[in-house]
Amino acid sequence: MATSSPQTGGTGAWDRLSGLLGRGPGGYAFLSLYLLITSLTLLLNPRTSLLTDVIFILFLLLLLIVYRTRVHIGFKVALGVIALGVVLPYFGTLNPYYIDVATQAGIYVALALGLNVVVGFAGLLDLGYVAFYAVGAYIWSIFSTPQIGAMISGAVPVPNVWFYGFILVGLMIGGAFGVLLGLPVLRLRGDYLAIVTLGFGEVIRVLAENLDKPINITNGAQGIKDIARPPIFFSGALRAIGLRQLDDNQLYQFFFYFMVLVIVLITVMIVGRLKNSRIGRAWTAIREDETAAIAQGIPLVRMKLMAFGVGASFAGTMGVVFAAKQLFINPPTFDLLTSISILSMVILGGLGNIPGVILGAVLVTLLNLQILPRIAEILRSAKSAGVPIPQSFDPTQYQRLLFGLLLILMMIFRPEGILPEDRRRQELHEDEDEPSEESAGATA
């Protein structure tokens, strides 16, 4: 799907800038200073406001800059660890709202990376990706709540420590669903495949809505509440080091933040390694030219199934985590719009390119959770100040418009995304040192 396009002026300027600040002592100083300034600004002024939003985004942008600069890999990792492992969680104790945003962004990063395997690597447009996410979420929700008793009479919820096992269950069931859906449909041509996966996504949602009878599996439209959270084994340790003032909810916020961070890092590692392997190359070959790929001995259906399975298993895993974090799920959580928003992230960032997809996921999540509500707030205050703004206009309610415009504009003006894949650069890198997984990880 990636199309050729001339390097734009913006990228050229970017290259010059990163050339200036991205190497040698200048680079180290610039990055350290950047981290220091943004961190301090955040920590000294943790109030929720538009300014904090902007600084928060600049803070996260550091990771992208770190990724693009040519400094020692150890330094990159150190900065990443400090930013995501220390500064951000500490900021979270001052303003829990932002750590929640970061967690959400992380969940979407993992989902987008999974979808990117299907759409970006293998070139299969999957519009029902959220179905696998739903499957993972429902698995844990059903088994960890009395809902299991409604499904199988006499059954009792599993102990909440099983959560860790269910992450793997979510992974496997998600993958299995991916393969099951893929088996019949992967012979279809690209645009038909898109519609069929969309249909499949809707079928899963409608089933979730209606499978409260004849046997109550999903509890129908009411959804499932009081989903179990895993036991936190380190809460004692945390309290011991002086974080006594944290209540359970805050603890869980940190727990899920770090859990998502770890999953994202693992996801990045897996996806990156797959990409630079025989499997990833076969996917790209299929995306580029199916006939030529098959002439190289690549079994089309098997490789496509693998892409579907791998992508879906990330969604299944994240579903389990999401359910435990959210405590409540219902069918509308998993509607087409969610699939489309994940697709927008992948397309905005750059199909097939891992840092690009991460950037896209973070940007869209922030846009959704921070920027739009802030704009809405500003509009509201403007309205009360007498500026004529239509009565019921609330930007947070216009996600469709946002995603729609985003998709159209990206397709027309920059189909390769804001951070396009650069295979050449990556190959050149490989001659210097090992492919920079760690640094890609830090971008999470």
């Binding site: 392997s277 580029e288 002439a295």
Partner: protein
């Protein structure tokens, strides 16, 4: 020893018989050309050999195995590779990656090893890269291995396609008009390359070609297709003087001028 035996191959599209009862035997280690006017069914015949089309009638035996019912990827894995008339590279992959994709059937690391980046995977990838570089040197493209395939000049793209096909260590390579659109100099280089495929790598070569000088220079055997039917077979001398061949190329009445090479 016959490496490939295609017997009584027939393929019909709608009402049109694209390939009609063609039998072709290719000896191990030979260079064979399939020629014929445009639309004679040469590419269709290639597509049948490589499994893209299923023949309506006839059998193909490759390296002692019947391959009529196999998928194209299975046939490719058995060691029959091809290039395409209208070059089909993976445009947005680098030159090296294109060759690595061609090596797909020789790489077996399971997904678990890839994720864990196990030592056996590193060894396999290392070997694959070394072998790819070797092949790129063979077609004189090693200095361009990090270019994107789409940025290569035309002649380089043709050679890259051959390198990619070689990456599967094929027993047989099918070249579909390897010199189409080349100037005489490039054609000469291509001729040498094709000969080296056989002489240095021991690959059996079948080519579809329109350049008669090239065909006559390097083929040990030539088969002529016209309207889907094989009308002649033999070495250059035999083909040159065959009246049906001359007629197919130059039209009725030209056969009187026998003795001159067609085209």
């Amino acid at each position: 020893m016959a490496l490939l035996e295609a017997t009584n191959i027939t393929k019909i599209f709608g009402g049109l018989t694209a390939v009609n009862d063609v039998t072709l035997t290719i000896e191990q280690g030979s260079i064979v050309s399939v020629i014929g006017p445009n639309g004679a069914g040469k590419t269709t015949f290639f597509n049948i050999l490589t499994g893209i089309y299923k023949p309506d009638k006839g059998d193909v035996i490759f390296d002692g195995k019947p391959i009529g019912g196999l998928r194209p990827d299975q046939i490719a894995a058995l060691g029959m590779r091809r290039t395409f008339q209208n070059i089909r590279l993976f445009h947005n992959m680098t030159v090296l990656e294109n060759v690595l994709v061609g090596m797909h059937t020789h790489l077996h690391a399971p997904i678990w090893n890839i994720i864990m980046r196990s030592p056996s995977l590193r060894r396999e990838e290392g070997r694959a890269r070394d072998r790819s570089r070797e092949l790129l040197r063979f077609v004189s493209l090693d200095n361009k291995r990090d270019e994107l395939a789409k940025n290569l000049p035309y002649g380089d793209q043709r050679r890259l396609e051959i390198a990619r096909a070689l990456a599967g260590d094929p027993k047989l390579i099918l070249l579909d008009e390897p010199t189409a659109g080349m100037n005489p100099n490039e054609t000469m280089d291509a001729t040498n390359l094709i000969r080296r495929l056989r002489d240095q790598l021991g690959v059996t070569v079948v080519l579809i070609e329109h350049d008669m000088r090239l065909v006559m220079t390097i083929s040990e055997r030539i088969s002529v297709l016209d309207y889907g039917t094989k009308i002649a077979e033999g070495d250059g001398q035999v083909i040159r003087s065959n009246p049906r061949v001359i007629e197919a190329y130059l039209g009725k009445g030209a056969a009187g001028m026998a003795g001159h090479p067609p085209a």
